[in-house]
């Protein structure tokens, strides 16, 4: 845990500074943001198979007390429940001197031990698309008790595993408290190690949300892995290790093939949609030349190009008017379509959103979008 960098409940849309540049006389600025949602599968179905066993005959023959031993306990796909008593009675039938008789044996019983097994599975189909930098992005894991007894699990995140281009920075772990399969900021409880370790019955599952922050300065296509680790609080270690009386119903707990711990790797994929702004100017002086003299007309043109994967959301171009110039009313256009100067229904304005500044909303752009062009005219005073 990193309390100092804890990010509270802001795990969906993010904004980040532009990577765009503006060449020419004046600086420009663009804002881009991306947001992603990943569908989450729900936990596996819980098959409960009840088998009718061959106790029938024995039960009829035995006394009412023995009939209480008849089957009824469910058998789970992952093994008989820890603490289940398994009884057995044998019978013998025979004839002596022409008379048939029978006898029942003693009842032999044993208890089923608890097997400690756990599984963690990453739920997102592919790397979570992120920006660089990015704040508190959620990826989802499914924790399943694959043992046959009740157990609880200590969770932790390892972002330092290799095989990737960057390390996400773990912020928080959340539990799907309301069981709806998606992260609900402010509703799903934050996980506190030792405080609310998930307690799971056999075959029960818990969705776990891991929040990571993404560093700055990464490149489009960079992969960052984040590993969720769950360790049985009853016991973990070498498979086959017996922990006397640690299991349900005072049975022994035996560490299963998982070693009593599970881990799964999730990943983030940098979708660095970068916006490049190219600004150019054509000068026309009153004499028909191209000298920047008083009365000369400056035709500015800004081309916005998006590269990389992902979507740059709500791209806005702002460009302060040059000093000592006067904006030519009605000269603003976007993609060769005129825009009014006022802040109204169209995408742009001059001086309304920001004083002495051209502001144009280009909307959501991706690498597939055509080049966006904003143009306007000023006259040198």
């Amino acid at each position: 845990m990193h309390p100092a960098t804890r990010f509270h409940y802001n795990c969906s849309p993010v904004t980040l500074p532009a990577r765009g540049s503006c060449r020419g006389l004046h600086a420009g600025a663009a804002t881009l943001s991306t947001s992603r949602n990943s569908p989450l599968p729900f936990g596996p179905a819980r098959p409960a198979i009840a088998l009718l066993h061959g106790w029938l005959r024995a039960c009829i023959l035995l006394t009412a007390a023995l009939a209480a031993l008849c089957p009824g306990e469910p058998v789970y796909a992952l093994g008989t429940l820890a603490g289940t008593a398994i009884h057995n009675v044998s019978r013998v039938e025979y004839m002596i001197a022409g008379t048939g008789s029978s006898a029942a044996s003693n009842i032999v019983s044993f208890l089923v031990d608890e097997k400690l097994d756990v599984n963690v599975a990453w739920q997102d189909a592919a790397g979570i698309g992120v920006s660089t930098p990015d704040t508190a992005r959620v990826t989802t894991f499914l924790l399943t008790n694959t043992g046959n007894g009740n157990d609880s699990y200590r969770l932790s995140v390892d972002d330092g595993a290799g095989g990737d281009q960057f390390d996400p920075v773990a912020v928080d772990i959340y539990l799907d408290g309301n069981g709806n399969g998606v992260f609900d900021a402010g509703t799903d409880p934050q996980y506190v190690a030792g405080g609310n370790d998930p307690v799971l019955a056999p075959e029960a599952s818990q969705l776990v949300f891991v929040c990571n922050t993404i560093p700055a300065g990464l490149h489009n296509g960079d992969l960052g892995n984040t590993v969720l680790i769950a360790i049985s609080n009853t016991g973990s270690g070498t498979p086959g290790t017996v922990l006397v009386n640690a299991g349900d119903n005072n049975t022994s707990a035996v560490i299963g093939s998982s070693g009593g711990s599970g881990r799964a790797t999730g990943s983030y994929l940098v979708n660095a949609a970068s916006v490049t702004l190219l600004k150019s100017v054509v000068i026309t002086d009153p004499q028909g030349g191209s000298q920047p003299v008083t009365g000369a007309r400056l035709d500015y043109r800004i081309n916005a190009t998006v590269t990389g994967t992902g979507v740059a959301s709500d791209v806005v171009i702002t460009d302060p008017l040059p000093a000592n110039t006067t904006y030519t009313s009605g000269s603003l256009s976007m993609n060769n379509l005129a825009l009014t100067d006022a802040a109204d229904g169209d995408a742009g304005d001059v001086g309304a959103s920001s004083a002495n500044t051209v502001t144009v909303h280009l909307g959501d752009l991706s690498g597939a979008s055509p080049v966006q062009t904003v143009s306007f005219e000023v006259v040198i005073n």
Binding site: R57, N88, V112
Partner: protein
Amino acid sequence: MKTSVRISTGLLLSFLSFSVLAQIEVSARAETEVVETAATGEKIVKRIDATTVVPGAEVIYTINARNTGSDPAKHVVVTNPVPQSTVYVDGSAAGDNTDIMFSVDGGKSYAHADKLTVHDENGKPRKAEAADYTNVRWTLRSELQPSRQLPVSYRVKVK
């Protein structure tokens, strides 16, 4: 039998009938195998009484029928259901001089392993597998003489 003169005919009959019942006694035990390494490095398989068993492990049931009476017993048949939450281990039933059969219908009928069929979920018959067995039956091929024993055994795997 000094007291017999003072008990009623009915009680005497029931006592006689009890003494007939007690002619063969049957006992059962459940064990698991543990492998121990001797000082020589030799691996020794030891059987211990099963008190707690981990899922997936095998349990050995040993059943012993003893003729405690004075008359030989004919048609001696030992039966044992495969307990709930366990599966019969293929080929594990043993018993000297016995005919071993299995049931897949809770003990209503028995047949040799290769003659048993069950119906799949589509109602089609198929050859029964060890996991389908519900009961095991040993039929002694000869009489069980007084003071002789009939030990039989089989294994199950805990689900």
